[in-house]
């Protein structure tokens, strides 16, 4: 079951950073290929609707 982890250990890191931009900047300083994902919390209403729908279904 460790194949995918061992593959990661042998590969060049390619990183998606979701959240704090400081980590993205630090990856770039280390010359790690990376992208920053602008993430925002979903609107509250959407979460509440989602919860209500889940309860109904």
């Amino acid at each position: 079951m460790s194949e995918k982890i061992l593959k990661l250990f042998k590969s060049e890191l390619k990183v998606i950073n979701v959240g704090l931009e400081i980590f993205y900047n630090d990856l770039r300083r280390q010359k790690v290929e990376s992208i920053q994902v602008a993430w925002q919390p979903p609107p509250k209403l959407e979460k509440e609707l989602d919860r209500a729908l889940r309860e109904l279904l």
Binding site: K4, I5, F23, D26
Partner: protein, 429 residues
């Protein structure tokens, strides 16, 4: 990025699971920095990842080093053959830095988050990471660093080590009592309680001939430390009795409490070993106090003290005003993620603190440990130089700084056998 193989997630904890599950479904390993992730979310993410052979490092993982690259708060350490699994962020930083200083290096360092070894999570990632490092050709020794796991989790980890591994292990469980591996594993599995001792054990197992050299680089003998403490304590008035340790690193602070318990008894804290010693007001020290400034009461609405030194600067001044304080101890965490100049940012406050004491006719002894390497963005040499210049007494490891502070307030009067015992458990001599 269609070929991404790793992600760092630091969104608020309640949203982390949704983001992480999306990434796992795309076969991407994830380091979850977010804290306050509900434990049931952690279990769900880790079970899902484990079934697919993927990593979920964290939640609440401050540090990992993957393929030599610092993830979140991590130092620039040389690459080598020690694989680390850690449920303790600054613990991982301390062992990786000390390994670097003695000439060893890290193959991979995997931060699994403090909850992984608790009953609810059951050590899912601890076990997957141990299996992966066992299979990794570049790893010759596996080091496990954590607060003591749940008993059942400990049993599971021990079973995996016993039945599925052949490599040597150093187990550093930061516990009140030493973990004893089963007798049949005694030759290749060594248990210690301290981070410094874990690194010394790693040298003993990997390069036995280099042990003395390693000690020269990072250790001080008990008699040297006692002599230094006696010399420093001569500057104190008899009314100066107490230690105030102001930590930014939670694991280092925990290690300090374990050492103090052996040398000066229980200490007060905002996160004590026993609830009896919890400070009623975390903003006010009492007798010997050890403060984790990374705890929620200090970080609500502001960055962690490893990034923003403001809270510690203010606290230091308050401690300096207390005439019963003898020693102030501080950690300075270097590496990616941390403040760009942790020593420089504290200098004016340290000088102010010394001046306040001086004007009151006292001397204040300030001890420090800089956890970093020469190659860190802040440079260990530069950071140490700044602190030494203003009279901060520095130590190569947290354990030594803590033992020194205890010896100072005891005016050197700690029984030799007790000191030896602490040294064996925490320093590895």
């Amino acid at each position: 990025m269609p070929d991404a193989n790793f992600a760092i997630v630091s969104v608020p904890g309640e949203y982390a699971k949704d983001v992480v599950m999306d990434l796992l479904k795309r076969d991407i390993h994830v380091h979850v920095f977010s804290d306050h992730v509900p434990i049931e979310d952690e279990v769900e993410m880790k079970k899902f990842a484990s079934e697919r052979g993927l990593l979920v490092l964290g939640p609440g993982a401050g540090t990992s080093i993957i393929n030599g690259k610092a993830i979140a708060f991590a130092n620039v350490v040389r690459r080598g053959n020690v694989g680390i699994v850690a449920a303790a962020g600054t613990g991982l930083q301390e062992v990786s830095v000390l390994l670097d200083r003695i000439g060893l290096g890290v193959s991979q360092a995997l931060g699994i988050g403090g909850n992984d070894v608790k009953k609810e999570v059951g050590g899912i990632m601890a076990i997957d990471c141990i299996r992966a490092l066992e299979a990794d050709r570049k790893t010759k020794l596996i080091m496990v660093v954590a607060k003591p796991p749940d008993r059942e989790v400990m049993r599971k980890i021990t079973k995996v080590i016993s039945e599925e591994t052949t490599k040597p292990f150093v187990i550093c469980f930061q516990s009140l009592r030493e973990y004893k591996p089963p007798k049949k594993l005694a030759r290749r599995v060594k248990a210690v309680r301290g981070l410094h001792a874990a690194v010394i054990q790693a040298v003993k197992l990997l390069k036995p001939k280099a042990v003395q050299k390693a000690h020269k680089r990072i250790s001080m003998k008990p008699r040297e430390l006692r002599a230094l403490a006696m010399k420093l304590s001569k500057k104190l008035k008899s009314t100066q009795k107490y230690i105030r340790a102001l930590y930014t690193g939670g694991t280092l602070m925990y290690e300090a409490m374990l050492i103090y318990r052996e040398l000066i008894g229980n200490v007060y804290s905002n996160a004590p070993l026993s609830s009896k010693y919890k400070l009623p007001d975390p903003h006010k020290s009492f007798k010997h106090s050890v403060i984790d400034l990374g705890e929620e009461e200090f970080t609500a609405g502001r960055p962690h003290p490893m990034i923003d030194p403001t809270v510690r600067k203010l606290r230091l001044i308050e401690e300096a005003k207390d005439p019963s304080v003898a020693v102030i101890l501080m950690d300075f965490m270097l590496g990616y993620g941390s403040h760009e100049d942790p020593a420089g940012a504290m200098i004016d406050s340290i000088e102010d603190a010394m001046r306040i004491a001086e004007e009151d006719g006292r001397n204040l002894i300030i001890l420090g440990h800089v956890c970093g390497t020469r190659k860190d963005p802040q440079s260990l040499v530069e950071q140490e130089r700044k602190l030494k210049k203003i009279g901060v007494q520095l130590f190569p490891s947290n354990a030594l700084a803590v033992i020194a502070s205890a010896l100072i307030v005891k005016r050197g009067k700690v029984k030799a056998d007790r000191l030896r015992r602490v040294y064996r458990s925490f320093v590895g001599i």
